[in-house]
């Protein structure tokens, strides 16, 4: 599944729910790309490929029974972004393909939830994730 390019065309609108998922992802893409490239030191092409996987994951995530609306799920999207990037970089560093500088090493040691919170203002649902059910 590819991330739809360009501005959304109402004439090609799908299911309203899918439209909302797409819209939320597009709105967050700038922040995602910044996190991947500037903070997690991914190369441009790596970031683009990871963003495609992230979109696919986010669509399926929003369809899970009992989950919040796509707009309310934005904080989870940022956490997933940071988790994806962390796992990817740890894999490359672990296999010796890449070396980690001090800044990246410190970032990789932090929990993705905390890192995502630093990137985004609107993460109030992340606090609920840790409440007892």
């Amino acid at each position: 599944m590819e991330i739809p390019d360009g501005p959304l065309n109402p004439a090609e609108a799908d299911d309203p729910f899918e439209l909302e998922i797409r819209s939320v992802f597009q709105d967050t893409l700038g922040l995602i790309h910044l996190a991947l490239v500037s903070h997690y030191d991914l190369e441009e092409l790596e970031a683009i490929e990871l963003e495609k996987d992230l979109y696919v994951w986010f669509v399926r995530f929003c369809m899970r029974p009992g989950n919040f609306s796509p707009r309310q799920s934005r904080p989870f999207l940022m956490v997933a972004c940071c988790q994806f990037a962390r796992e990817y970089q740890k894999y490359l560093i672990g296999t010796g393909i890449r070396e980690a500088g001090e800044k990246l090493s410190k970032l990789l040691d932090r929990e993705p939830t905390e890192v995502a919170r630093d990137f985004s203002q609107d993460l109030e649902f992340l606090g609920f994730r840790h409440r007892d059910v």
């Binding site: 399926r60 995530f61 899970r64 029974p65």
Partner: protein, 355 residues
């Protein structure tokens, strides 16, 4: 794969009997998270009408995922689908009366959901399923103690159908404890939840329970009105737990109003529904209830037959209270016919093994 394509593929997968399903179809369906998402949705919808199918399919998918090892889907999807399929298997096991198996599945579901990015909804559903099991084991104090917190969780998560289910469980526990007016007070706001319109089975279940409370309180006319409303909600739906439960309530009401023959007929129809769904524990319980009605109709041989049919399940699932009732009823039927002590001995031997 688009949601429509995934739904179509999932439907094709389930349309082939599991025993005849080619490995290629299985592997291509189950290795696709989009198809698994659709399969999960379909199996959840079929809990109530075909719990045997839901259990078999969810069990198979869970085993397939665990055999596949760590590589599946993106990010937390392996853990999510392990949690989801185990939850489906656990709920289906509970509906089939397989309580120990249900507890094990729910433990697996919790283990899966715990590692997902948003575990709250999944874990809340597991908590609800566990409380439902406690209800079926007669542990009503446990339910009343724990359900308020669960309802609060569902409210925070904005899950109105689950709020309805949670409050319904509380009301049913109150009813079982004889606290009828409190049960009614708990049920009335549940009936007002607008999201119930999305789930005719749940809506009918709520209205049936209102009828049941009226019945137990001696308000038989109000009970009949409620049951008729519930029947209306289910008129275009097939076999389901809600429909079977309603027939059972109606049978009890008709019997109590003196129309024992009509009551027995409704009870037998409910029994057929439970048997069709594979709900062995409920069927065993209903056979004991039906046997009582058959004795009242002076049909002791049929009563005895129903009890003997119930015995294997009573033993397997350790349904002790129902077992004692079976002994009393069978003794009565034997006494009336003054024949066949073998049946009585067989029941006694079953219960002795159980104890």
């Amino acid at each position: 794969m688009s949601p429509e394509e995934a739904a179509s593929f999932a439907g094709r997968y389930l349309s082939v009997d599991s025993a005849e399903r080619p490995a290629e179809l299985t592997n291509s369906a189950l290795s696709n998270p989009d198809v698994l998402t659709s399969l999960s949705r379909i199996l959840r919808e079929r809990f109530s009408s075909d719990p045997s199918l839901a259990l078999d399919e969810a069990n198979f998918i869970y085993r397939w995922l665990t055999d596949k090892g760590q590589r599946f889907g993106l990010f937390d999807e392996r853990d999510y689908f392990l949690g989801e399929t185990a939850f489906i298997a656990g709920t289906a096991s509970r509906l089939l009366g397989k309580r120990e198996e249900a507890f094990r599945w729910l433990d697996r579901a919790e283990a899966g959901f715990r590692h997902t990015i948003n575990p709250a909804a999944g874990l809340a559903n597991v908590a609800y399923a566990r409380l439902s099991l406690r209800f079926e084991m007669g542990r009503y104090d446990d339910v009343l103690d724990l359900v308020p917190s669960l309802t609060a969780s569902f409210r925070k998560l904005d899950m109105p159908l689950e709020v309805a289910k949670s409050e319904l469980l509380r009301a049913k526990s109150l009813k079982q404890m004889g606290r009828l007016e409190e049960a009614y007070a708990a049920l009335d706001p549940v009936r007002q939840i607008t999201a119930l319109r999305q789930s005719p089975d749940l809506h009918a279940h709520v209205v049936s329970e209102i009828g049941s409370v009226h019945h137990l309180a001696g308000r038989t006319d109000e009970a009949l009105v409620a049951y008729e409303s519930s029947l209306e909600l289910l008129h275009d739906r097939g076999v389901s737990m809600a429909r079977a439960d309603l027939k059972m309530f109606l049978g009890g009401l008709l019997r109590d109003k003196g129309n024992v023959a009509a009551g027995a007929s409704s009870l037998r129809s409910a029994l057929e529904d439970y048997l069709e769904m594979g709900a062995a524990t409920r069927a065993a319980y209903l056979r004991v209830v039906l046997a009582e009605a058959l004795l009242a109709l002076t049909r002791p041989r049929e009563a005895e037959w129903e009890i003997l049919q119930a015995l294997p399940t009573i033993e397997e699932q350790k349904m002790v209270p129902e077992g004692f009732a079976a002994v009393a009823l069978l003794r009565e039927s034997v006494k009336r016919r003054k024949t066949d002590p073998n049946a009585l001995r067989e029941l006694r031997e079953h219960l002795q093994k159980q104890n």
